[in-house]
Amino acid sequence: MKIKTPITCNEIKKLRAGDFVYLSGYIYTGRDAAHKRMVETLNKGEELPFEIKDQVIYYVGPAPAKPNRPIGSAGPTSAYRMDPYSTILMEKGLKIMIGKGDRSDQFIQDMIKHKGVYLQAVGGTGALLARKVVESEVVAYEDLGAEAIYRLKVKDFPAVVTYDIYGGNLVKDEVEKYNERKV
């Protein structure tokens, strides 16, 4: 399924756990340090450095770009580390988060409540995913280097719907299918 960003509520309703999706449009990067700063900003009652409503955050800290390339290797980082920061961002309208690995039950509950969706890109495929990035520009926290917030223009960026708004959970359902552990 192809989806365009920013994402509408109608589009969110179509996404089901297990769907392969291909995103095109602008997405924002952010990982540990940027999340910490965004939440501190909101807690102080200040505005975020970009409009987060209906947007996508991709948990990534890319490698440096080679000359004439928009970005270096750019695969997802583990999402669970962003769990403590995600709820407040979803309250501000964040819709899609892209990372790798499973997340806390509390996060899933909050995500469903705010009609958000969690996608996974395949971890460790930074060279492949960098090919889907057309443009890249720093929008905030430049001093954080690889952890700064970048706006990326992506084309057909591949990801898998992992948790949907209906409680669908790719990780749980699929792992159970193949689990034959005896002890």
């Binding site: 800290g61 290797s73 583990s78 690889a146 699929e174 299918k177 193949y178 034959e180």
Partner: protein, 279 residues
């Protein structure tokens, strides 16, 4: 006595560190290609295909296969008959510095674990030096990612726990880690020694070739059994479910205290990066 200048060490570390980040090596790629055929989950197959495509792009275009280009672990074995002209540790760190600056590798090392900040050049490396017979220096570098290292652990079991206790610990750890350490994994297990020795031999076990067989028949059997049982956990490629959770289990053992049974589990993601050179 053979005199070796530190500039040669720096140059070697730089070269193999860049190479490790760009090229996973044909034997590992072949192992991944075989796994696509064996994987029972369609989602799992697609994930493995993307991993193979990624590793081929990285190798052909000479760029890092993963943006997490790791903190570098370096095993240096120095012959008794070698005289190193200069500072060994600094020469290794200088090689890392040059590799990360010139090879377009991400700097992923903090200045301090509490105050954080970035050291700016991916140093210091974690350097293990051992003295061995001969007049050569053998260097192995392994850029180790944070995601899989975070899922690693040491547990002090008791002798009564035995082999079953070791197996349970390994299986529980891998199941609970799910997709976080980026499966399919290579699982390094260090059994015996003490707290730090078990962790060190688990790490060193990860430096082995993916297809080799443990020369100790007891450990070879345990590696095979654990690999089969890990692949029945259902975790699958990237934790999306399936039958390929690990590609290899590598175990090292060392004698331990009569009261102890230390077990370290060092998890390696599918970007299994390590290169070796001899000076």
């Amino acid at each position: 006595m053979r005199i070796i200048d530190t500039s040669l060490i720096t140059e070697t570390v730089k070269r193999i560190t860049i190479d490790a980040n760009y090229d996973i090596g044909e034997s590992f790629l072949e192992k991944l290609r075989k796994a696509i055929k064996l994987e029972k989950s369609d989602i799992g197959k697609t994930v493995l295909e993307q991993i193979v495509e990624n590793d081929e792009i990285a190798r052909d275009d000479k760029e890092p296969m993963c943006q997490d280009t790791g903190m570098v672990v370096c095993f240096v074995k120095v012959g008794y008959n070698v005289h190193i002209k200069g500072d060994l540790y600094e020469s290794v760190n200088e090689g890392i510095r040059q590799a990360y600056n010139e090879g377009f590798l991400r700097k992923s090392v903090t200045k301090h674990p509490i105050t954080r900040g970035n050291s700016g050049d991916n140093t210091p490396a974690i350097i293990h030096v051992e003295l061995v017979p001969g007049d050569q220096i053998s260097i192995t570098v392994a850029p180790k990612g944070g995601g899989s290292e975070n899922m690693s652990l040491v547990k002090m079991l008791i002798p009564a726990d035995g082999v079953e206790g070791i197996k349970k610990l390994v299986l529980d750890s891998i199941f609970n880690a799910g997709g976080k350490p980026c499966p399919p994994l290579v699982v390094g297990v260090g059994i015996g020694g003490n707290l730090e020795k078990s962790a060190l031999i688990a790490k060193e076990a990860l430096m082995r070739e993916i297809n080799d067989v443990n020369p100790d028949p007891i450990l070879a059997k345990l590696e095979q059994e654990l690999l089969e049982e890990i692949n029945k956990l259902g975790v699958g490629p990237m934790g999306f479910g399936g039958t390929t959770t690990a590609l290899g289990v590598k175990i090292a053992a060392y004698p331990c205290h009569i009261a102890s049974l230390p077990v370290a589990i060092n998890i390696q993601c599918h970007a299994s990066r390590h290169k070796h050179a001899v000076i």
